[in-house]
Amino acid sequence: MTAAVELVPQEAASTPRLVHHPTRTATPVIDVRSYAFWYGGTQALFDLTFTIPRRAVTALIGPSGCGKSTFLRSVNRLNELIPGTRHTGDILLEGVSVFSRGMDAVALRREVGMVFQQPNPFPKSIFDNVAYGPRLNALAPERDMPERVERALRQAALWDEVKDRLEAPGTSLSGGQQQRLCIARALANEPEVLLMDEPCSALDPAATQRIEELLVELKQSYSIVIVTHNMQQASRVSDFTGFFYLGHLIEFGDTKQLFTRPTDERTEAYITGRFG
């Protein structure tokens, strides 16, 4: 499958992002190896092994409570803040274990941005919301911040709507705008991977469509993993799809193929709406 390579146009190589990793475009960005996860005594994920392609949208589908979000939160190690959790196996980001001793959770989360189910802007101005990550990580001097904020807001397709009121509180925006603000906030860190945990479930159809169009643009420069309950959404926006069921990854593959010719009968039952 060469989709990941095709998706990166040649001129994209001149953008600053690609200068950092010029040779990595063909390798998978995330490599999951026999990963299992427990909340206390309850096992939530079982022996996951798959790879997430670079510069593509990967959708994770499945019924509620099947471990999709738990997996997502394993990648940026948000789960480790919950007492009593443990894991076995490994998750590699750019070939390096996210759990390795040298991997600082703070540095990891700079490389792996996250967008949540509910839009959660900080009670600060639009500008400050976007500048939050770069300021913390000292990615740019303060005088370059306006440029960086504008770039992130443009990438999130929000710039034109907010450019005249960057000092307005982020919470004054509509739900769909808030979610794009949260996407801009994540992008301002210039992550390699963007994790999205049901980013459209709190939005109306029009706002959902904006986000979906945005995903198609963003995959030119980012690797996106999106958890969704909406199978139409998965089939519309994703290049690859993984079906989770009861903590197992039942099937993973090309989206078109998974939705038209699923190999597992549970996948077929789920995508045809027989359960879930």
């Binding site: 940026n76 948000l78 803040l81 007492p83 703070v106 540095a107 990891l108 989360r109 700079r110 941005g113 996250m114 949540f116 509910q118 959660n120 802007p121 900080f122 009670p123 600060k124 939050y132 990550g133 913390l136 990580n137 509180p169 919470t171 949260c182 906030r185 994540a186 860190n189």
Partner: protein
């Protein structure tokens, strides 16, 4: 209208009337107290009352400048000691207090919260006044601070807990270390609530009398020396109100009005702080 619907309407009307009457009773108490204070105290308020010190027994005139300044100094010092400790403890309890240590701290705070202030006063006397060989404003501040810490800690904890978890996760997911998330995102978001809790706490201790009797003692003269006994408004009211002279009673009413005014001012400031905050950030 069917019988059932009629009964629902009647019940609804009765209950609404009942809670309205109860609310009225609650407000009535405050209105009566304030009204009585104004009626009996306002006529004694004048420039001298705020600027002069008490005159010797038997003479008329004079004021309570020493007590007003004393209250300011002692409550101010108590806030200086108590607020950082209280807010810090509350932040710890809310953000990291899920373990056994948190349980112990929370339990101790609740017990301290329920401890009568006169008991705190006795302890302040035992541990501060006696070793220091004398009553002092400092000991009074320490006693008030001890009263205030558990109160502030618990309200701060409640306010910090109100901050949505999603905001914490947003900061953590951007790469914020946990302690910075606590300070920069969580505490700042809860700031309006924390400030309100602090002001209410300060207002609450500003009216305390019992612990000051054992510590700051009271002083007929003006002083700002915190190692000496110092007069405060509650103590002044206590002395004047229990005294035999009409002039003293008059001054006690006026002092009570001033104290009440100070407490109300703190309350209004707290309200205003919340509104400013909400206007700017919500």
């Amino acid at each position: 209208m069917s019988g059932r619907s009629l009964r629902r309407h009647v019940t609804s009307g009765l209950m609404t009337g009942l809670v309205a009457a109860l609310s009225f009773t609650a407000v009535l108490a405050l209105v009566l107290i304030l009204g009585d204070l104004i009626a009996k105290g306002a006529s004694s308020l004048n420039w001298d009352f705020f600027t002069k010190n008490p005159v010797p027994t038997g003479q008329t005139g004079g004021g309570v400048a020493n007590a007003i300044v004393g209250t300011g100094v002692i409550v101010g010092l108590a806030a200086l000691f108590g607020l950082p400790v209280g807010v810090g403890t509350g932040l710890y309890l809310a953000e990291y207090g899920s373990g056994r240590l948190g349980w112990v701290v929370r339990f101790v705070a609740d017990v301290l919260n329920g401890t009568p202030s006169i008991v705190i006063g006795i302890f302040a006397w035992t541990w501060l006044v006696r070793p220091m060989k004398g009553y002092s404003a400092l000991a009074g501040s320490a006693a008030l601070a001890a009263l205030m810490v558990p109160m502030i800690a618990r309200t701060t904890e409640e306010m910090v807990r109100l901050v949505p978890h999603s905001l914490r996760e947003a900061a953590l997911a951007l790469g914020y270390p946990r302690w910075r998330t606590s300070l920069r995102v969580v505490a700042r978001t809860a700031l309006a609530g924390i400030v309100t809790g602090c002001l209410v706490g300060v207002a609450r201790i500003a009216g305390e009398t019992a612990p000051l009797i054992f510590t700051a003692l009271g002083n007929q003269n003006f002083t700002t020396n915190i190692t000496q006994p110092m007069q405060t408004l509650p103590h002044q009211i206590y002395e004047y109100a229990t005294g035999p002279f009409e002039e003293w009673h008059r001054l006690a009413w006026a002092s009570a009005l001033v104290l009440m005014g100070l407490v109300l001012l703190l309350g209004v400031t707290a309200r205003w702080a919340i509104r400013q905050r909400h206007g700017a950030a919500r």
